[in-house]
Symmetry: C2
Subunit: 252 residues, 2 copies
């Protein structure tokens, strides 16, 4: 059939027809983006959405299926469908791929050295799609596992989005995922991220903060994280000690 919800404008070039379930998906996505339902909350039931959009429940199901596959929604049979959040334990370390070589992961902690406001460098501006000189927030911190400093991170955020972010606010939040903080305090939910990995030698500062000799090979992890609409809202560079940990990746 290829029905459309709103009368489509005729375009001679691009395929103007989108499957019905994808149109529904786009509408739900818009609701998510607009904050109609907050992280952790339940969205309306499938039949409710079906009634709202005048389609069958099965069509809504297929739309939600895709959003759930993208980790934007979480289904719980018999309960409902919920907006995914970085708060729940299972999502806690979704973006951290570090694992100990042997044994169980030790207790996690973070220590923030610096959290200051500044101006975007050319590189930061490029990564975050800002103009050079725009306001940014710069964070430097160390992640500890089992009491040992394992990761040194420099995080750069657009100042416009993260207005009231201070070292105190970060300290209060220690132990939990920083993405949870972004979510609860700044209404910015991270959807996906791209990482680039390289090997690098520890410079004197990194060596001191991580407790290794200068020149030690470290894993350099550069990440750009995106929110709705593929808007980049975090740029970070991490240096990982890999003497007793490793970065895990599953290939399919």
């Amino acid at each position: 059939m290829t029905a459309t919800i709103q009368a489509p404008t005729v375009s001679p070039v691009a395929p103007t027809f989108l499957p019905l379930y994808r149109q529904i998906k786009a509408l739900v996505l818009r609701g998510l983006e607009a904050g109609e339902w907050k992280p952790g909350e339940a969205i309306p039931s499938e039949s409710e959405l079906a009634a709202r959009y005048r389609v069958s429940q099965g069509t809504v199901r297929k739309a939600i299926d895709e959003l759930a596959a993208e980790n934007l929604l979480v289904r719980r049979q018999g309960r409902g469908t919920f907006v995914a959040t970085h708060g729940e334990p299972r999502q806690q370390f979704r973006f951290l791929r570090l694992a100990p070589d042997h044994g169980e992961p030790g207790p996690y902690a973070s220590r923030t050295f610096e959290c200051r406001r500044g101006r975007a460098s050319a590189e930061a501006a490029r990564m975050l799609e800002l103009k050079p000189g725009d306001a940014v927030v710069a964070i430097r911190r160390v992640l500890l596992f089992g009491g040992e400093p394992i990761v040194l991170e420099d995080i750069t955020l657009p100042g416009a989005v993260f207005k009231g972010l201070t070292a105190e606010r970060l300290a209060e939040h220690e132990g939990a995922s920083i993405y949870h903080l972004y979510e609860t305090d700044f209404g910015t939910r991270m959807i996906r991220a791209d990482e680039k990995l390289k090997a690098a030698a520890a410079d004197p500062t990194a060596a001191r903060l991580l407790g290794v000799a200068a020149g030690t090979p470290l894993l350099s992890v550069e990440r750009v994280a995106f929110t709705y609409g593929d808007r980049p809202v975090e740029w970070r560079r991490g240096l990982y000690r890999t003497d007793r940990h490793h970065y895990t990746n599953a290939l399919y």
Copy 2:
């Protein structure tokens, strides 16, 4: 409904009921594993499978959906559903996550230094689920991009599976993915792989083969690749030069 294809044996403890579409999925998977349809070939149409298994076409569809999501099958509207293969260009570098920092990837080549039969070390045996001393094939090669040596790899394979593998056979196959060779010549299709990444300093041998100074930080990538039934059939360790390339990863 929760119908079963064969009368289920009653088990008091585990959920003996599997959704119908998962039973179908298991049956198709068994056919794939048994080589009923070879890589690149089309499997029977949805309605044909539906008739064979006495279920509706939609149920077969859902089973195939999952197998396609796992990259075991490839759907082509109007044509059929095909057994995935490492031969087609798009799948060619599915497991190689290296990308140049700038510009397009240069032409690819590989140079094999060594391909000999030997006995499994304790470590190799553990990785490949063999007994120490079992026959293995050991390959050492360098991957070149744009003429430059970028990756040094040591590959270990179970000798029982890769009986006639020789340096000549490898050389004939140069330019294409080695997984394609496994598939066509040894009937072993790689399904998925686990990787562990670390940073390491180049030892003299690696430094010479990669054309860098000894001690240069390199990305160490250890991979175990699995075929059907999660059976490990390849263990490899790669050393990547990351001065002008990086390992990319997408996080969801």
